[in-house]
Symmetry: C2
Subunit: 385 residues, 2 copies
Amino acid sequence: MSVTHPQGFLAAGVVAGLKSTGKRDIALVQNLGPSQAAAVVFTSNRAQANPIIWSKQVITDGIVSAIVLNSGGANCYTGSFGFQTSHQSAEAVASALGVSAGDVLVCSTGLIGVGGQDFRDKVLGGISAVAPLLSVTGGLDAATAIMTTDSVPKQAVVNGAGWSLGGMAKGAGMLAPGLATMLVVITTDAVLDSPSLDAALRAATRVTFDRLDSDGCMSTNDQVSLLASGASGVTPTLAEFTTAITALCADLAQQLQADAEGASHNISIETINAANEDDAVEVGRSVARNNLFKAAVFGNDPNWGRVLAAIGTTKADFDPYDVDVSMNGVRVCKSGEPDEPSTSVDLTPRATHVLIDLKVGTATATILTNDLTHDYVHENSAYAS
Amino acid sequence: MSVTHPQGFLAAGVVAGLKSTGKRDIALVQNLGPSQAAAVVFTSNRAQANPIIWSKQVITDGIVSAIVLNSGGANCYTGSFGFQTSHQSAEAVASALGVSAGDVLVCSTGLIGVGGQDFRDKVLGGISAVAPLLSVTGGLDAATAIMTTDSVPKQAVVNGAGWSLGGMAKGAGMLAPGLATMLVVITTDAVLDSPSLDAALRAATRVTFDRLDSDGCMSTNDQVSLLASGASGVTPTLAEFTTAITALCADLAQQLQADAEGASHNISIETINAANEDDAVEVGRSVARNNLFKAAVFGNDPNWGRVLAAIGTTKADFDPYDVDVSMNGVRVCKSGEPDEPSTSVDLTPRATHVLIDLKVGTATATILTNDLTHDYVHENSAYAS
C-alpha cells in the first residue's frame, strides 16, 4: 500500500550494503502513467546535497518517471564526484526501466560527507538489484529502505472520489528535521498537470511539514516529491485535491513528530488571535526552538515563564504584558500575570498542548515540536549521523 | 576587590531568605562619588521584567548612586504589584543610604512569575540587612549573592594609568543566557561623563557578552550596569577606557562560558574572511545555536557536516560550496569537500575551536558557546529555574 495504493505505481526496497546494520537502504518508485506529471518541494538550506542539485534539474519540465532514494549516506559536500554519482544513479534507473534519466529524481539521506567510490558502487549495485523487484506490493519495503533513525516506517493513504493519494516519509521535520533529512514521496492517480500539483503540494507543505519544527535544525537533503500517474482517469478540483493532500501531509507530519528521536512529549504550540498568520507561526516557532522550554517539558515542569521569554524575542504584533498562556487546558498566565497555579497542570501525557492568546487579531497557527531529552542528546552525540 | 577595586565604591551581600538553599541572595553596591555618572545596557527581549522597567527610568538622566540585586526570583510577569516591589526596593535603598530612589538601579534574577508579597517582604528585609554592611571588602559577598546556578562567583579587575575597573557577573550570556539571566555590575573610578560611559559600554558588550551564545535563549532580566565614581581624578581617553572595559567584559564573558550549566566543552566559533562583521556574527551564531552540532561536540564527534548545514541557513554572503572548516586545527572540509579525515581531530579537550573560512572578504568574528549535554538537559528539566 502507501505509495502503491494509487493506481499506476510500483515500488521496491532492497539491501545495498550502505547501512552498517545490513537493513534495506535503496528504494525505488516508478510511475507507470499514463501521465508523468510531478512537483517537488526542496530544502531551503543554501547548503544543498548533490541529489537535490540533480533533482532540481529533473523537475524543471514537470515530468518524473521514477524516484530512487537511498539511506546510509547524504552525498552532500562530496563535490563533483558526488554529483556524478547522483547523475549515474538516474542513468542506472533510466536504463533499467527504459525511461529518460532526465525524468528520474534522486534522494539521499545519511551522513554529510559520505559519497565516495564505495558509496557509488553500492548505490549502483542497489539500483540493479531493486529495479527487477518493482511491484504493487513493494510500498512497505520502499518505506523501510528510506529509514535512518526512524523506529517505524511511515505511510499514509487518502481516498478521493475515484482517485487516491499514497505517501511515505522518513525523518522528523522539513524546515527543521530532528535528524538528518526529511524525505517524502507522495503518489496519486488523479489527473492533474504539473502546475496544479505544484500549487497543491506547496499549499499542503506550508501548513504541515513547514510547521513541524522538532529541533530547529534544517537539513541539506530535504525533498518532498509528488508523482501523478493519471491512471484513475478522474480529475478532482484543485480545492478537493489540495484538501486531500494536506490531510495526507498532516498525517505523515504527525507520524514524524511521534517518532522524533529521543522525544518523550509531542508538543503542539497553538497561537491564537494573532494579527496575521506569519505572526502566529513566528510566535509558535520561537517557543518550539527554545531549549529551556523544551527541557522543562521533558521534566514535566509547566514553566510558562520560558514561553513568555521566548515569544518576547519575536517581532510579532502583541503586547508582551497582555498575553494569556495555557498548558494542557490550564491557564497559567493571564494578561502577563500568574493565573492558575502551575501545580494544577499535568504534563505527564505524551501529548502536550500550549495555547498562546495574543489578543490582537484573528489569525491562528499550530507548530508541532518535541521536548529536549537525555535521549535526544544521546542519539545525536553517541553516533555520527 | 572586584566591584570595590576602584576607589569610591562599597559593596555587601546577605541572606534574605529568597533562595531555598539559605545562601546569600541580596547584593548592594554604592557609588560614593564624587561623580555618579552611569550607563546601562538592557536585554533586547520585549518581555521585560519589572526591575528592567524600573531601571530604564533610573538611567534616563545618566545618574546612579547605588544598585541593588537579588537572586531567588525574577520579578517578571508579576504585574503592577511586582513593579511596585521594584520601586519600593529602590526607595528602601535610598532611605538607607540617604540618596534619591530615582538614582537606584534594581536587578532581579530567578524564576519568572515569582514576585508576590513573600518575595517583596524578603527583598525589603534583605535591603535593611545589607545596607549597614556596605564596605570596601564586600565585593565577594555581593558577587556571591547574585549567583543562581553559577558554581563560582565571577569577578574581574583591569587597571589603567591611575584609574581602574572592577566587575562582577552571573549567568551565561547576554543575548542568549544559558540559564535565566545575565547580570553584570561594572565599576570604575575614572572621570567620565554618562555619554562617554554609554559609548564605551555599548562598544564593549557588542563584541563580548553579545557574542556569548550559550543556548540561544534570551532572558527577560539581562542588565549590564556601569557606575563611575570619578574618585581617581583621572580622565582616560575614550579609546583607552573602551579598550580596558572591553578587556574586562571579555574576561567576565569567558568566566560565564566556562561555568555554563552542564557544559563539557567551551566552543569558540571563529568565522574569517567574511564580507562584513555582521555576516561573520550571523554565521558563527547559526552554528552556536545548532543543537545537532552542539550534541556532536559533546560526543567528541567532529561532525563538520552539521557546521555546513547550519551556516547554509544564513543569509550571509558566501559560496556554500567554497567554504573551509577546521576543527581544533585540522581542516576537515576544503572548498565544500572532505579534506583531512575526521578521525584526526581530537575533541576531548574542553577548549574547542571551530574555524570557518568564508573566502569572500576580510571581516572576522568569534562566537562563544557550549556543547549540548545530558547535564544541560538535566539542570533545565529537573529544577524550575
